[in-house]
């Protein structure tokens, strides 16, 4: 019986395993190989050891991109979690039109990222920006703000768009978590004299933590490997100040055709991603065994 189940399972999993081997495992091996050669577009390369890695670690643009990626991931995650949790708590109340609100709120998450980011790029336009108009009307500014042209500000603008797109995902996922919490617990805590804040901190938060962790870790991976926002909003500029790992890998690997160096830049993401994945697996196992 076990034998036959094994055979059936094998056949049911063959298509999945074939595709994943062909287009994930094999490219990964090939990417590692590529990164230790000196291949450029149209020319096969040969083994040069870790030269590409020493080269990129001495490259100041790469260092900026690496730092940007960590700051970008850290800052946006904090904001997405805080705002997402706030929105989830608001949505967890009873009010009229709740289903509609919930449906519309998810739009930033489901509309293709590049398309909505183009709308943001238009809103950030130095000459025609609606934000400039708004702040000018509110008498906050009297000269234009160059949202994407100033290096510091450009990064903040990109982060804003990332938070905008991520908040609905956090809110809806956390809302699902909130709905599994038994309201009796809140009532019991209220009877024991806990105020609103204490009830959140001692009842809601600990019970919500497993869902929160999974959402945050998942989002960290996505944000860390982000490409589309930067590609559309700034292309890594001004003066290469807003690159992330992925956009710099694209610029070097595809833009200039230095394939092996681009592959090395992409792979530089791997250790951090691996760490998050290992932590996530460990955490899920711990929660399941409890």
């Amino acid at each position: 019986m076990l034998e036959r189940e094994g055979a059936l399972a094998f056949w049911l999993l063959v298509p999945t395993l074939a595709l994943l081997t062909l287009f994930i495992a094999y490219p990964f091996v090939r990417g590692v190989w590529l990164s230790v050669t000196n291949t450029v577009v149209g020319e096969p390369g040969h083994f040069i050891g870790l030269h590409n890695f020493t080269k990129i670690f001495n490259d100041s643009i790469f260092r900026t991109a690496a730092l940007n990626t960590f700051v970008y991931t850290g800052v946006t995650t904090v904001f997405k979690l805080a705002l997402g949790l706030w929105l989830a708590l608001l949505l967890n109340r009873h009010f009229r039109g709740k289903a509609w609100v919930r449906a519309f709120i998810l739009l930033p998450f489901i509309i293709p990222t590049v398309l909505s980011t183009l709308a943001w790029k238009w809103m950030f336009d130095p000459t025609f920006s609606v934000f400039n108009w708004l702040f000018w009307k509110l008498s906050i500014i009297n000269s234009r703000i160059n949202w994407l042209g100033d290096p510091e500000l450009a990064m903040a603008s990109i982060m804003t768009v990332n938070v905008w797109r991520g908040v609905p995902f956090y809110a809806i996922s956390l809302l699902a978590g909130l709905q599994t919490i038994n309201p009796d617990l809140h009532e019991a805590a209220a009877i024991d004299g806990a105020n609103r804040w204490q009830r959140f901190w001692h009842v809601t938060w600990p019970l919500l933590l497993p869902v929160t962790m999974v959402v945050v870790l998942f989002s960290i991976i996505q944000t860390f490997a982000d490409f589309q926002l930067v590609y559309v909003l700034t292309g890594g500029g001004p003066a290469n100040a807003t690159h992330l790992f992925a956009t710099y890998a694209y610029q070097i690997g595809v833009g200039t055709g230095l394939l092996s160096e681009g592959a090395a830049i992409s792979l530089a993401m791997f250790p951090a991603l691996l760490l998050v994945v290992v932590f996530q697996l460990w955490y899920i196992r711990r929660v399941e065994n409890r």
Partner: protein, 283 residues
């Protein structure tokens, strides 16, 4: 006391809720207004006395006409639709049978395989796009829809498998066992008993996979090169922006119309979609 409570509710509920809704939806409104705004209004600087951001007195369909007549937008829509549907079908098929195997069958390596598939779910596209472009070239499928139809399942299958696995686990085993006692084979029990019950799960996975395919960007950007092969996101970005010149009217029209298929699918299946989002993180 009651007056005070009402005031508090406005401050702590309606006000923040209103801000969230406004902030989250404004970019789409802006997209729509720009689409129908004539160029002479569009290119008024922010401090121009006649800058009227929130409405237009002379709505026009010129940008949409321009988009449909001057660009290959309709081709991009078709390409994206075809690729998204094909990739979704492949992923659903793999995910449903694979998820069933992992949830229901006892075999060696089951735990390990489940973990391996979960890990591939977390592999971002940006990690592998350069070697993958090489491989696509080796297989001679570069610049064809196959380059995307075959690679999109790599990020869709893990998610579909994981979601279906969770769904199958909620279906009582006894249903299948009853059918088998009545003489059904395992295949029959699977096809006629389990899969029909799993339809809501399949819908969630399918809708989620469809929107993810429509959203994908970097593979489409790197693996396709001729304008008539492109997908909507890549076509709009690469063909409507010429160097430093942005054709904002047609760009926003493209963004708006390019979002419609996803929005329609989403509006019909909101509940399934929400289940997919939450299922995708809970596993």
């Amino acid at each position: 006391m009651i007056e005070g409570a009402k005031w508090k509710k406005w401050l702590w509920f309606y006000l923040p809720m209103g801000m969230f809704i406004l902030g989250l939806l404004f970019p789409f409104y802006w997209m729509a207004v720009t689409t129908v705004r004539p160029d002479r209004e569009l290119y008024r600087p922010w401090n121009h006395p006649l800058y009227s951001p929130f409405w237009t007195t002379h709505p026009t369909f010129d940008h949409i006409k321009n988009l449909l007549q001057e660009t290959l937008f309709d081709r991009w829509m078709w390409n994206t639709m075809l690729i998204a549907l094909a990739a979704t079908l492949i992923s659903l098929l793999c995910g449903v049978i694979g998820g069933y195997a992992l949830a229901r069958l006892r075999f060696r390596w089951a735990g390990l395989l489940g973990t391996a598939i979960f890990v591939t779910y977390l592999v971002p596209q940006t990690l592998l796009f350069i070697p993958l472009a090489d491989i696509i070239r080796d297989y001679h499928i570069g610049d064809t829809p196959w380059a995307l139809i075959l690679t999109y399942p790599t990020f869709l299958i893990p998610f579909c498998t994981w979601l279906m696995m969770g769904y199958f686990k909620t279906i009582p085993k006894e249903l299948e066992e009853c059918a088998r006692i009545d003489g059904a084979t395992r295949w029959q029990a699977m096809l006629y008993i389990v899969f029909p019950i799993a339809v809501p799960g399949i819908l969630s996975a399918g809708i989620f996979a469809f929107t993810l395919s429509w959203n994908e960007f970097i593979y489409a950007l790197v693996f396709l090169s001729s304008p008539e092969q492109k997908t909507v996101p890549v076509g709009v970005v690469s063909e409507l922006i010429r160097g430093d010149v942005f054709f904002w009217g047609p760009l926003m029209a493209g963004a708006l119309i390019g979002s419609i298929p996803v929005a329609i699918v989403y509006s019909f299946f909101v509940e399934y979609y929400v289940a997919g989002v939450t299922g995708s993180v809970k596993g």
